[in-house]
């Protein structure tokens, strides 16, 4: 036995902490040029070697190694496998390594202290939900570069919520490039309909999460299915992950936001609001709202009203919002919106009468 104070001394210790085993695995695979076979890893690397039985059954240890590989890959550590020449396909001869160039942050990727401040804020956005671990680890790596953030002039506490139950399975399907199935309830339809799609991007637009996806082409036909946008809130049942999806390269998040923006641009409503009411203040402060007339005939003496033009993406969502303002808003058009608001108000009055 060597006389170093290192792990050799504690080789008999029954338990090596998980992080020590993972850290030792990364170090060993970074240090090897030609790669290590699974057997070499299990028999020599700290955390495995203590439990390795030469010539014996190492099934549990092999399973542990499989899970560890997934864990370090999840952290963005590029773990590569090399087939042994002349023995391709033989799992026992497969060699593992971490290529330095793919592991290290490129030299030209540096951040100023102003940029570091912004990235700290960007990470804070995901304080809750499934992206909080990701942003926490991203910040550790950012701090590794040693750039101190500037103290912001004004404190911020931004937060995006991931409350839709469908977010997590959809995000995991996106990550693994899988086809998904889910029941989707379109407004105005009695029953949810099962959809099967190739997920392309998850985007939040005006506070609501949307899935941009391609419908799977009916069997027998080739070519791409139609691109659709689904509101996560209308996914009313479990999201089922299916088989591998065909590759669809491109900036889908950007495209989905641009197409929602185009829908928003085209969707125009005209409303009349009571001056100085909550509706007037909040609708005027909405992005894209234009004041068409500062004072219009309110149909009632002593009441001042103004006319606004609003943009919207989803008629049913806007109708919900406008119904909440009760008598402070009168919808002028389009007629479908007017009808949707009237039926909501009548329903609420009826349910509470």
């Amino acid at each position: 036995m060597p006389s170093s104070p290192g792990p050799a001394a504690s080789a008999t210790a029954s338990r090596v902490p998980v992080e020590e085993r993972l850290f030792s695995l990364v170090l060993a695979l970074l240090a090897t040029e030609s790669g290590l076979t699974k057997n070499e890893i299990l028999s020599t690397v700290q955390g495995y070697r203590q439990r390795f039985r030469a010539g014996g059954d190492n099934t549990n240890l092999e399973r542990q190694f499989e899970r560890d590989k997934d864990d370090i890959r999840d952290l963005g550590v590029p773990l590569e496998t090399i087939d042994s020449p002349g023995d391709a396909g033989n799992n026992q001869m497969l060699r593992y390594r971490i290529p330095r160039g793919a592991y290290e942050l490129p030299k030209d990727v540096t951040f100023t202290s102003g940029e570091t401040t912004l990235l700290n804020l960007a990470a804070m956005v995901w304080r809750e939900g499934s992206l909080s671990g990701e942003s926490r680890r991203a910040l550790l790596k950012l701090r590794s570069l040693g750039v101190a953030a500037e103290e912001p002039v004004l404190g911020y506490a931004p937060r995006v919520r991931l409350r839709d139950a469908a977010f997590e399975p959809l995000s995991s399907a996106l990550e693994k490039h899988l086809i998904v199935r889910f029941p989707y309830l379109k407004p105005g339809e009695e029953r949810a309909r099962e959809r099967e799609v190739i997920p392309l991007a998850l985007v939040q637009y005006q506070g609501r999460w949307h899935l941009s996806a391609e419908e799977t082409a009916p069997s027998g036909s080739d070519g791409d299915g139609a691109r659709k946008t689904f509101l996560l809130r209308r996914i009313v049942g479990p999201v089922v992950l299916g088989k591998a999806a065909p590759a669809r390269p491109g900036d889908h998040a950007g495209a989905a936001l641009a197409s929602l923006d185009a829908v928003w641009e085209r969707g125009v409503a005209e409303v009349q609001v009571v001056t100085d009411s909550d509706a007037a203040t909040r609708l005027t402060n909405r992005r894209g709202t234009e004041r068409l007339a500062a004072s219009v005939d309110a149909g009632a003496p002593g009441r001042a009203e103004e006319r606004l033009r609003l943009h919207f993406v989803d008629l049913n969502i806007l109708a919900d919002e406008l119904a909440g303002f009760g008598p402070e808003v009168l919808v002028i058009g389009p007629p479908e919106l007017r009808g949707a608001v009237i039926s909501r108000l009548e329903r609420t009055a009826h349910d509470h009468g």
């Binding site: 290192g6 992080e19 020590e20 993972l22 850290f23 990364v26 170090l27 970074l30 240090a31 020599t44 690397v45 952290l75 963005g76 942050l105 951040f111 940029e115 960007a122 990470a123 956005v125 304080r127 992206l131 671990g133 990701e134 926490r136 550790l140 790596k141 701090r143 590794s144 570069l145 040693g146 912001p152 002039v153 004004l154 404190g155 911020y156 937060r159 990550e175 392309l200 939040q204 609501r208 809130r233 923006d261 641009e265 203040t281 909040r282 402060n285 992005r287 919900d320 119904a323 909440g324 303002f325 009760g326 039926s343 909501r344 108000l345 009548e346 329903r347 609420t348 349910d351 509470h352």
Partner: protein, 344 residues
Amino acid sequence: MADRQQPLQARDKLAFLLSLVPWLMDHDGAKVAEAAEHFGMTPAQIREAVELIAVSGVPGETDAYQHGDLFDIDWDAFEERDEIVLTNLVAIDDSPRFSAREAAALIAGLQYLSALPENADRAAIASLMGKLSRGASATPSQVGVEGAATTGAVDTGAGRRALAPDPLASTLALIRESVERGVQLELDYQNSQGQRERRRVDPLRIESIDADWYLRGWCHLREAIRTFRLDRISNAIITEQPIEHRASDSDVRLPDVLFAPSPDDLEVTIEVVPSAMPLLSDFIPDGATSTGHDGRIRTTLRVSHYHGLKRLIASMAGVATVVAPPSARAAVEAWAREGAARYR
């Protein structure tokens, strides 16, 4: 840091070890306290990590983790002066890349914050997002968040078009200017009971939840900390009066929660379809019991005033119904009836 006291999971600890080594290489002789401050950790977490690094390494040629195959530190400096000096290095030369999901989270966070005055330089933000993509180990996954437009044009991919500045971005810019110049903000505010008042405010912090933005500040009218929804603010101007309260003042304590319950709150019983429950979670007090009724959930809501309740319920037609008390039902009914009457 908000997560300073949280126990770290094994993956967090690994990310931390891989991040700490390159930092220590660049900061020879750094104090434990300095590293703790920089990484937002406790000194105990730093010591634990350094002790682990100091005994870690590679199997080496002998497969036996010989002395030269391990990291080493100056133990005297570490134990006596809390200084971290690496005396032997192995395997690691540089900081690790971001994972695809890590880069995607930061990119989407930056998009979301595009309304902040700090983010006004779009070209700089685009270059920052580009660096995150290049610094990731795989193409960042597809997550996007719409941000407000701060400048005159937005590239939608189908050509550039003009956009009026977002009212949100203008208000945020004004708030920041007031803090920068150290003067109070004056604004009209429509409170949750519908009354409009002129207020003078010392801005303390900007908070947001999804598409809703809030200013928390010292209100000189109420002489207390108040929360203002940005879309209920109008006619805001910057005054010449100096700010009297700052977030760094010891007597200024911002409550952690945006919506703190008050003893004056009213409780109402509602029935709601299960899928709409998350929309109401801010109003449901801790410990409220929920029971099922014909596929609907019956639960308790806490509201400050019926003024807010009737708006909330009227925006959820067919989805949520007030069951009790009768005065709350009547307030909702009257509100919806008056609204419907405008169309006759």
